[in-house]
Symmetry: C2
Subunit: 340 residues, 2 copies
DNA sequence: GGGGCGGATGTAAACGTTTTCACGGCCAAA
DNA sequence: TTTGGCCGTGAAAACGTTTACATCCGCCCC
């Protein structure tokens, strides 16, 4: 009987034990779908992912997962959705199976604008471009992160700083470009078109971009790559061309992938707390379901941190903390510096 | 009407369009739970994960996810389950929400033996210890992989080869130890207790193990670490002690984590096709559901590959393929060699 | 012209829960 | 003694689908 299982009503002690015995002997387990049908809640949040999720997304998923478990929810994942139609089809498939939806789709053009829940299903946009007023959102502070690290390069004395950009339609890439430009303007430096190179977030595209950058008349003394993979490719191209990093050209990336600290020289980058993104997305959904989706929408921006290492030059920049005593360069993660 | 949506019966063209119009105008979306209830299928597989899933597990999940999508299934994940009680509680929570279950729990002691589905729910054990006859299983060929790479070290002329082992209760660790011993015995070498060091799969434990190994009277000339993290820690301890890798001591790991190829010297290891594990687990579940769980059980072993790089010594071992022309050491993954 | 048949559609049962309602005791208060 | 409320329990409705069944109509064939 449901009353003993859920403590939903007072029940006599003798019948309680009688029911419990029966439950045990029949190996009875309540049926989730049937319960969801009448209860109108599933204790499950849906997650819609882009095609290829690498390190970053799997960290986000971990954050989602941990926070979901903490709040007593499960996760129903559905991946490989690059365009709006696919996302909508996935949303349709999840109707009646989830209490809320986290959509991660950084490549979606104006994705948030067109997304519409079937009824009043709570939806949180994770790392999507549009701050859609009807939907919650959690995003990385790409602008701030890019701006900080470019400012850091500027503080090293660099005046000609190039950027290797990400895909045009990717919102992260667009925002990092904005941050780059903002940092230049803050320092009174001109934005030069020949120093803004296209890229596709792949190592190869970083390599190609750096090579084409070497052909510019007045070469840059520093390169900001919009992600770490491209930074790694760029460094390969530079060293191949006989240039030393960071002595001849400084390099900085974005994402702070784990590999970065093991490279020689170790890669300066912008660290984004990926799992925090996931947990904050879940927090949004929990809050939304508690208010039956009648709540004021939130647009959260999670702060990045500078991960200053060796590819951006000697450490004349004031450090927040001294270098930790370490056993070897191999397993000595560079201390991370908070963005001011 | 369900007939037009599912094409389950012939329906007149005019009524079909009439229904379709209504569906569109009412923004109607079928309710998953209700459908599952009557259909007795959910198009969803459950995945039960251990607490902290790193690189390896997130790759497995990707494999699961891709294969599931390919077969028209979703994934319901539930993590943080280190003991049997927790796993069973998770299984209970999934009753009626999934058509099958993939359980990954390498730390479970004899886990498979006690696991029992509520009804006849298809279950596949992923990387668990016991080959339980009533349940399908997909596991890494830890024994074969360890045996291969230790044999490789032996082929380099090493006679005293140490192992840094993983946690006692971890089945991967136990099997890798077995493979290590088998390789030694195949080569007529004695198994020495002082060369088998405990570890916990962490970088620190590898560091500690290598340090204690240096105190042995007749030190080893090669170290096989049961995973890459410990290998990295061990290398740190060796270089700190003034020993050169691989000249003084050769080192090999297991897992082939991406960082390995970026280290200097790059880390020799055993590559396990993590995402294949996931897709084969899904294949098992699909096969099981198609046969209503009345099928002969499978116990699949996925083969590993040797990833021979620089920490195990000069390449006098016959290579299957020549070194690929590469731009730089940074982005030149060492070609992977198939296990014979 | 009637019976049978097949295509199209309406109807009702079923899935396994939760929740609401009603009922029967029982005790306290009037 | 009657009335009202409370506790415990059984019965029934509801959730939103699918499926099996029944109905109806038009048609062909005997």
């Amino acid at each position: 009987m449901s009353r003993v299982l859920n403590d939903s009503a007072p029940v006599n002690e003798t019948t309680r034990t009688r029911v419990e015995d029966a439950v045990r002997s029949l190996r009875y387990v309540p049926h989730g779908a049937a319960r969801s049908l009448i209860t109108r809640r599933t204790s499950t949040f849906g997650v819609i992912l882009p095609d290829l999720y690498g390190e970053f997304f799997s960290e986000v998923i971990r954050g989602l997962d941990e926070a979901a478990r903490e709040h007593g929810y499960h996760l129903l994942v559905s991946s490989a959705h690059s365009d709006l139609a696919e996302v909508e089809s996935a949303m349709r498939a999840m109707r009646g199976r989830v209490d809320g939806l986290a959509i991660m789709s950084p490549d979606l053009i104006a994705g948030g604008a067109a997304i519409k829940g079937p009824e009043n299903l709570p939806i949180v946009l994770v790392n999507c471009d549009i701050k859609h007023s009807a939907l919650d959102s959690v995003s990385v502070d790409n602008v701030g992160g890019a701006q900080s690290i470019v400012a850091h390069l500027i503080s090293h004395g660099h005046r000609r700083i190039a950027i290797i950009n990400g895909p045009e339609r990717n919102c992260d890439a667009r925002e990092r470009l904005r941050g780059y430009r903002a940092a230049l303007q803050d320092a009174g430096l001109a934005v030069a078109a020949e120093l803004e190179l296209p890229g596709t977030f792949t190592e190869d595209s970083g390599y190609d971009a750096a090579r084409s950058l070497l052909k510019v008349r007045k070469p840059a003394t520093a390169i900001f790559a919009a992600n770490d993979s491209m930074a790694i490719g760029a460094i390969a191209a530079l060293t191949e061309a006989g240039l030393a990093v960071p002595e001849d050209v400084a390099v900085a990336g974005f994402d702070d992938i784990p590999i970065g600290r093991y490279l020689t020289p170790s890669l300066s980058s912008v660290s984004v707390p990926a799992s925090d993104i996931g947990s904050r997305a879940i927090a949004c959904l929990v809050h939304a379901t508690e208010h039956k989706n009648h709540h004021v929408r939130r647009h959260e921006l999670v702060a990045t941190q500078l991960a200053i290492r060796n590819t951006c030059g000697p450490h004349d920049y004031p450090r927040r903390q001294g270098a930790a005593a370490s056993r070897s360069s191999l397993n000595a993660p560079t201390p991370i510096e908070a963005v001011p």
